[in-house]
């Protein structure tokens, strides 16, 4: 039993998981029946389902971010890509003759995804072909992207009425929210794409030692392109979820600061910002730490404009608790205690 427990505590996801459990327990104490899930109209309802649904866009963006970070990069432009994707699909849908049709929704989504791929490829071009540092290269689109989204929406918040499009963010299939299903599917696909091929290992190789990777003949350029395109795609789909949920495209606020949440999810999940070995499962856990936290803040009735103050200490605590340094210090302290106990035993 204790051995199992120690193994669990040694795992790098132990603290993020404990954080989720503690937060949910606190919620349950503050508001009994917090955990209850009921069936209504064939859908699952409840706070836990909300946590999953709200965490879906962050998890999805975090997925792309994980691969980018593993390759020693970073993608700051994801928030702007969210805004552009939403702006494109909503503008298209509004511009159609009958904006409520399925075809309008489908074409809107398709154009947005095509644009997202182009934006990802642009980042990949700047980083791999021009050799610009990732943080600067993606900063370009982070800044310019919001302007592009403004151009597309002519500075307006575009409100749409299309039930098919609305379903992306708010619909259910097989009792589960569609965003959760999309995100799950994306992770399964990404898992297959990176681990059933050599992509994951090659991304890690580039992240761990770019010089040695080049001398081994790895085509770093191609792989770096791929990770930024995947990141752009993930951000686009997340953008569709976010705008669909509120049936409106707000170029200023859609996906604002979501790049920071995504990076945080990746770090909470145990992937190092220095690149190299990564964990997709870790990123899922990290994203749900964040969405549980947000839900908890609302549940406690803390005003929305103060919630960041409440979230920060929890994030700091988790990051500190799972850090290598903390583990070393704790280890040291334990051994010292054991030694002093041993020396206290009379000879």
């Amino acid at each position: 039993m204790t051995a199992t427990l120690r193994r669990f505590m040694g795992h790098r996801l132990a603290w993020p998981l404990i954080a989720v459990i503690v937060l949910i327990a606190a919620d349950e104490v503050a508001r009994p029946a917090f955990l209850s899930i009921r069936m209504q109209d064939g859908h699952l309802y409840g706070n836990v389902v909300d946590i999953l649904r709200n965490g879906a866009p962050i998890a999805l963006i975090g997925l792309g971010m994980t691969l980018v970070i593993a390759s020693r990069g970073i993608d700051l432009s994801v928030g702007a890509v969210v805004a552009i994707a939403g702006a494109i699909s909503c503008s298209y849908i509004v511009s159609t003759h009958h904006q409520g049709t399925l075809s309008a929704a489908l074409v809107g989504v398709a154009i947005a995804i095509a644009a997202g791929l182009v934006l990802g490829a642009w980042n990949g071009f700047l980083v791999s072909t021009l050799g610009i540092q990732p943080i600067i290269a993606t900063l370009v689109l982070m800044v310019a992207g919001r302007g592009v989204a403004q151009l597309i929406t002519s500075g307006q918040i575009i409100t749409i009425h299309n039930s098919y499009y609305h379903a992306i963010g708010d619909g259910y299939v097989l009792t589960l929210p569609i965003p959760v299903l999309i995100t799950m599917a994306a992770f399964v696909l990404a898992g297959i794409l990176t681990r059933r091929t050599a992509l994951g290992t090659l991304i890690e190789a580039i992240g761990i030692n770019p010089v040695a990777s080049r001398l081994t003949g790895i085509r770093a350029g191609t792989i770096v392109w791929i990770v930024y395109v995947v990141s752009g795609l993930c951000a686009t789909v997340a953008g569709l979820m976010i705008t669909s949920n509120v049936s409106a495209a707000d170029a200023n606020n859609a996906g604002l600061f979501i790049e920071l949440d995504a990076i945080l999810a990746v770090v909470l999940g145990g992937t190092s910002l220095r690149g190299g070995r990564y964990s997709l499962v870790g990123t899922i856990v990290g994203a749900f730490v964040l969405s549980t936290l947000t839900t908890t803040v609302y549940n406690f009735g803390i005003p929305a404009n103060e919630n960041l103050v409440f979230e920060a200490p929890v994030v700091i605590a988790v990051v500190l608790l799972q850090s290598e340094r903390r583990r070393e210090l704790l280890d040291l302290w334990r051994r010292r205690r054991i030694r002093s106990q041993v020396s206290e035993v009379p000879a």
Binding site: R196, T197, L199, A205, I208, A212, S213, R214, T216, I226
Partner: protein
């Protein structure tokens, strides 16, 4: 006189490996104590246990009569134990004097007292016979040897009484070694305790007073240098009789490939690159070993990088089987069947966090592209075959390669190319910093591969090794290839005089 450092029953354990197993060790003032053992024997582990790199170890460590357990290298340094590592741990972008007094700059009214800094730096440098060195020059502009001496100057400045030198001579030339040894002898006179780790047995016998031998993390024994003949030392280090080494020494020279045979595998004419190396005219036949000899920085590595496309040549031509090659990237060279093991294993070879298997198959996987992963069964077969063929230890393909000793890492890096069945492999200092047994294994491997028809470019600072393995030897000086000679009838002295520029 009591020892300044005494370690008793010290053990260090990593998951699955006992890196140091109840080892005892003593270091006396005024002696040079050599720490010997094969790679992976526990030499570095012992140093790291002593200097607080590992924080917690079992057993007792007594320093200057007090039981101590250093948690960080800084604590060890504060207690008077300085370490000069194989890789210099100074700041290359700062000046010599800044490095010597870093963190301890004398101050005057809140400001750094630069004249005093210079005075103290110069005092240390003079003691190390570096009177000519400008204390205001940037450290990176000096050779590794000078940088090492500056590191020693720093440890003198902080008044260390124990100086640990980890492989200090591995990248020095003969003159630099002589200078370093002079400094070491001076320090010994002054009562310093010096722990010296080296793979060069000649140097160990020249400089050390006492030796401690480790094998597989265990203590073999402590000996006075004068009382332990070299052959028994080697036997103690490798733990088996010397058959293997003898065999290599007396193995008849490999049948030299017919130099006048069909067209050569590779021929370069006037190959060069601005600011790097020039006028390289090499001819390499199939099954031939061509040695590149010369001092460090003479153009050997630069030539290797041109042949592999790591740097693009801007002068001359490379012909492979008669066809002109334009190598713009390593990848292009790999596609033509060329492989390259860099002299800098850590920075240019290892992908440290990945497993032995991933590292071993990396070149093959890279050439297949990301989408066509090598099937798992194939991966296992290839890895198992090569681990066995090259005697990689531990024979576990799933451990991260960083946990292997230098010699075993080197074997994996060579194996990385062997799975590709290349026609030419360039080995740059493949035996540097690795133990005798692994060295013998690699030398034998070179012979075996050449017999199998592979061509090899063999680069080494050890002339004896170059001479033993190569069919032809290209000599470099001042970034130019200056001579090519056959093996037959050539002696080390002949090569030396060409390198030195003395007509022979």
């Amino acid at each position: 006189m009591p020892p300044v450092v005494e370690m008793a029953d010290v053990s260090v354990e990593f998951p699955g490996v006992k890196a140091l197993d109840a080892v005892s060790f003593r270091l006396f003032p005024g002696e040079v104590h050599a720490l010997l053992g094969e790679n992976g024997a526990g030499k570095s582990t012992l140093i790291k246990a002593l200097t607080g790199v590992y924080g917690t170890v079992t057993g007792t460590i007594t320093v200057f009569g007090q039981e101590r357990q250093f948690q960080t290298p800084a604590q060890a340094q504060a207690a008077g134990i300085s370490t000069v590592y194989q890789e210099i741990s100074l700041c290359p972008n700062l000046t010599v004097e800044e490095n010597i007094l870093l963190g301890r700059e004398p101050r005057k009214r809140g400001h750094i007292d630069w004249p005093e800094v210079r005075r103290r730096a110069r005092k240390q440098l003079v003691q190390l016979h570096l009177d000519q060195l400008d204390p205001g020059s940037v450290l990176a502009t000096h050779s590794v040897a000078i940088q090492q001496l500056v590191a020693i100057a720093r440890s003198m400045e902080i008044e260390s009484r124990v100086l640990i030198l980890d492989e200090p001579t591995s990248s020095l030339d003969a003159d630099e070694v002589r200078h370093l040894f002079r400094v070491i002898r001076d320090l010994r006179e002054r009562g310093q305790a010096i722990l010296f780790v080296s793979h060069f047995l000649d140097q160990v016998y020249e400089i050390s007073d006492r030796m401690t031998v480790l094998r597989n993390g265990k203590l073999v024994g402590e000996f006075l240098t004068g009382e332990l003949p070299r052959m028994s030392l080697i036997t103690k280090m490798i733990g088996k009789e010397l058959v293997e080494l003898e065999e290599l020494d007396h193995s008849p020279a490999r049948k030299v490939a017919a130099a006048g045979g069909p067209e050569p595998l590779l021929r370069t004419e006037g190959l060069g690159r601005d600011g790097s190396v020039s006028q390289v005219d090499l001819t390499i036949h199939a099954g031939q070993v061509v040695g590149l000899a010369g001092l460090l920085g003479s153009g050997r590595t630069e030539t290797a990088r041109l042949l592999f496309g790591a740097d693009a040549a801007d002068q001359g031509t490379i012909r492979l089987r008669g066809e002109v090659l334009r190598l713009r990237s390593p990848r292009a060279a790999i596609e033509h069947g060329i492989g390259y093991c860099s002299e800098d294993r850590k920075e240019e070879g290892l992908i440290a966090d990945l497993s032995v298997r991933d590292n071993l198959l990396m070149a093959m996987q890279a050439s297949r592209g990301w989408a066509r992963r090598i099937p798992l069964r194939e991966q296992e077969r290839l890895t198992a075959d090569l681990i066995e063929a090259l005697d990689v230890r531990p024979a576990n393909p799933d451990v991260p390669i960083r946990n292997l000793s230098g010699g075993n890492q080197q074997k994996v890096l060579v194996a990385r190319w062997l799975v590709m069945s290349p026609s030419l492999v360039i080995l740059d200092e493949p035996t540097r910093g690795i133990d005798i047994a692994a060295k013998a294994q690699i030398q034998k491997l070179v012979n075996r591969l050449a017999e199998g028809g592979m061509s090899i470019v063999f680069i080494s600072s050890e002339l004896e090794e170059v001479l033993r393995l190569s069919d032809r030897i290209a000599v470099f000086r001042d970034r130019r290839m200056i001579a090519e000679m056959g093996n037959e009838g050539t002696s080390q002295d002949d090569i030396m005089s060409v390198i030195a520029g003395v007509a022979s």
